[in-house]
Symmetry: C2
Subunit: 103 residues, 2 copies
């Protein structure tokens, strides 16, 4: 059980697959099959992670026929990632090193 929005939201963003999905959707809206082919994960894995991203409203979806098309919520995600990028730039130039050790 997730207790706070912060934990829910940041937890959603701390997953490689979900980050890749966000990246893939940054280009343009895509359906599940497209994402599955592009990313190479199981379709059920993609679906579940899409659900979690949608729950957080980081993405939205629109059903058209059999297809479920997901779009990035750019208004939130882009500033969020930009903030982290600026933080890395400003404070974590040597961050690469830390990534190789367990913290």
């Amino acid at each position: 059980m997730i207790k706070t929005p912060y934990k829910l939201f940041f937890g959603t963003l701390s997953n490689e697959i979900r980050l890749k999905i966000l990246h893939a959707l940054a280009e343009k809206p895509k359906n599940v099959t497209q994402l599955t082919n592009e990313l190479g994960f199981d379709q059920t894995t993609v679906s579940k992670n899409l659900k979690r991203l949608a729950t957080c409203q980081f993405i939205t979806n629109k059903k058209i026929g059999k297809h479920s098309i997901y779009s990035l919520n750019k208004k939130t995600i882009l500033p969020l990632l930009k903030l982290i990028d600026r933080h890395v730039d400003k404070y974590c130039k040597n961050c690469e090193l830390l990534l190789n050790e367990r913290i």
Copy 2:
């Protein structure tokens, strides 16, 4: 092994204890003992989570004698939390409901 900065940073923020530490440090800089007493966790737990927060530069520390004083990096953390707050306000008014179910 943590592979990307995003996963590292967002993972750091998706933990109750670390969020509480950030909240406690928002008030003023504190040392490990103060935080331990205030939050009620084991001292070693507090120390380790402080380390991870410091690794991400979300907090900084200054050693004075035997004491290690930690301060919030307000320039990053405050805008970050504000961004999430605005997102919740804008898109996730009913978010409380989702928090009670597994995603």
